[in-house]
């Protein structure tokens, strides 16, 4: 297994990878580097559009109340090219989001890592629920 996936298999699943190419906009202007967070919840909706995906997540608060968070991810175009569809990540999928909260204090964050219930990272190595991207071609 490739190194990046080995990290995941080891349960580290944190803060891998990297900013490699140009971003559409300045994320550090939108999200607060001093407000890292980890959210656990289930997928309500995936806005699979541009310039960035937005994942709507239902998060259960300690008092039992459910709040909806919006999590910003990447452009879906390459995922689509690889065979990923909205059905690849069914509504209700349990996700752990590691990221940073919006500067305006709203229930919004950038998803630094999207981690599935089994510890694997969403979309990497065919880890998406329902089959690998390659299977969907």
């Amino acid at each position: 297994m490739r190194a990046k996936l080995a990290f995941v298999a080891a349960g580290v699943g944190l803060l891998l990878a990297v900013a490699s190419v140009q971003a559409h906009h300045a994320f550090a202007a939108e999200f607060d580097v001093t407000k890292p967070l980890t959210l656990k919840g289930s997928l309500i909706k995936w806005e699979m559009v541009n310039p960035h995906s937005w994942f709507h997540i239902a998060v259960k608060e300690p008092d039992g109340k459910i709040t909806e968070w919006l999590i910003e991810g990447g452009s879906p175009n390459q995922l689509i090219r690889m065979g990923v569809t909205k059905n690849t990540v069914p509504i209700g999928t349990e996700l752990t989001i590691e990221g940073y909260r919006a500067k305006d204090g709203g229930l919004k964050a950038v998803g630094r890592n999207f981690v599935l219930a089994d510890g694997s990272r969403l979309f990497l190595g065919g880890s998406a629920p329902g089959g690998t991207p390659a299977d969907k071609k």
Binding site: L16, N50, E72, P133
Partner: protein, 348 residues
């Protein structure tokens, strides 16, 4: 450190020439890695003859990418024009490894989604191979010529105007044009590597060539009938392009830019001449020359090959969920409010 800086530094440190499109250990999942098509070049000594469209044009049609790690300008410390294949392979491995590096939690670079989770790191898509150390081939030093006096004066005036307009996040109008989803560098002309989703579709019909840019869904419809350029009052973000065939090379001249996204500091009177020559089934030799006497005292030329890739092109409707603009502006206002409250507390 922002992503752009990482790229620049990576290029400087690694002296990257090309990125392997084949699988790189420790990189993207095998299922996702796109092997770059091996160039099916003509046998040595026999020139490649491109296929023809039904109306007789050399056929450039299909899906192409200009994704590359080769920097526009030659990195400091590199003096030669080409890397050897071995040097290129080594650079490829290092560059791919660098893309997979962890970012440090709590740093600006870490405040981002992971490109690799969305298939947007370059090892997960086709790369246009190029052994060059810079895309710029003229001047011979691989650098953009220095701005002339007029160019420097205008650049200073533009900077002063931006400063007078206030902070970058004071208003939508002050934000970068790309962030506002108006236009990005992939459209050009010249067509520059967009960083990700760096894909194009070329379609030809009798008398026309159409180039669709994935980032961000701009189209150039280029007539081939020698019609003149429109009057100088007609100005467009991507200028106005006119094409002609010189043998098997499509030559496209573009003028009539609107000047609002001046390429590398150029004016609306910039002229770009592009040359597209299909050199194999899987590659187009793409060269462009930029001319703007109000900015540079000489023209400059770059080669940025296009490699065949998989289609189709997916819509990049950039405004669709560009919530980032509102979020950034709201964040800036929240920070201002916080600072004002802190200052008030301090003065009490």
């Amino acid at each position: 450190m922002n992503c752009r800086s990482l790229v620049s530094i990576g290029a400087l440190v690694l002296g990257v020439a090309v990125l392997a499109s084949t699988s790189v250990a420790g990189q993207a999942p095998a299922s996702a890695v796109k092997a770059a098509p091996a160039a099916k070049a003509a046998p040595a000594g026999k020139p490649y003859t491109p296929p023809k469209t039904p109306d007789g044009q050399p056929d450039l049609q299909g899906f192409w990418t200009n994704s590359t790690y080769v920097p526009l300008e030659r990195p400091q410390g590199v003096t030669k024009e080409f890397y050897t294949p071995d040097e290129a392979e080594e650079a490829i491995k290092k560059a791919a490894a660098r893309e997979a590096e962890q970012t440090e939690p709590g740093t600006t670079a870490d405040v981002h989604y992971d490109f690799s989770q969305f298939g947007l790191d370059r090892s997960q898509s086709t790369i246009a191979r190029n052994l060059r150390t810079s895309l710029i081939v003229d001047p011979p030093d691989g650098k953009i010529p220095p701005l002339n006096a007029e160019g420097q004066k205008r650049t200073a005036e533009r900077a002063a105007a931006r400063k007078a307009a206030g902070g970058q996040y004071d208003s939508v109008q002050n934000m970068p044009i790309g962030s506002r989803c108006i236009i990005m560098g992939g459209s050009g002309p010249p067509m520059m590597n967009a960083g990700y989703n760096a894909n194009y579709q070329i379609v030809q019909s009798p008398g026309y060539v159409m180039i669709l840019t994935e980032m961000i869904h701009d189209v150039r419809v280029i007539p081939l009938d020698n019609r003149p350029q429109p009057p100088s009052g007609v100005r467009q973000w991507t200028g106005v392009s006119r094409g002609r065939w010189e043998g098997n090379t499509l030559v496209v001249e573009t003028t009539n830019f609107n000047g609002k996204n001046g390429f590398r500091g150029a004016t609306e009177n910039m002229k770009v001449v592009e040359r597209f020559t299909r050199v194999s089934d899987d590659a187009i030799d793409y060269k462009f020359t930029v001319e703007d006497p109000a900015t540079w005292d000489r023209t400059w030329t770059a080669e940025a090959p296009l490699a065949k890739t998989d289609g189709p092109i997916f819509e990049f409707a950039c405004h669709e969920t560009n919530y980032g603009i509102a979020n950034i502006l709201a964040g800036a206002r929240a920070e201002e409010k916080h600072k004002a409250e802190q200052a008030k507390k301090g003065s009490n």
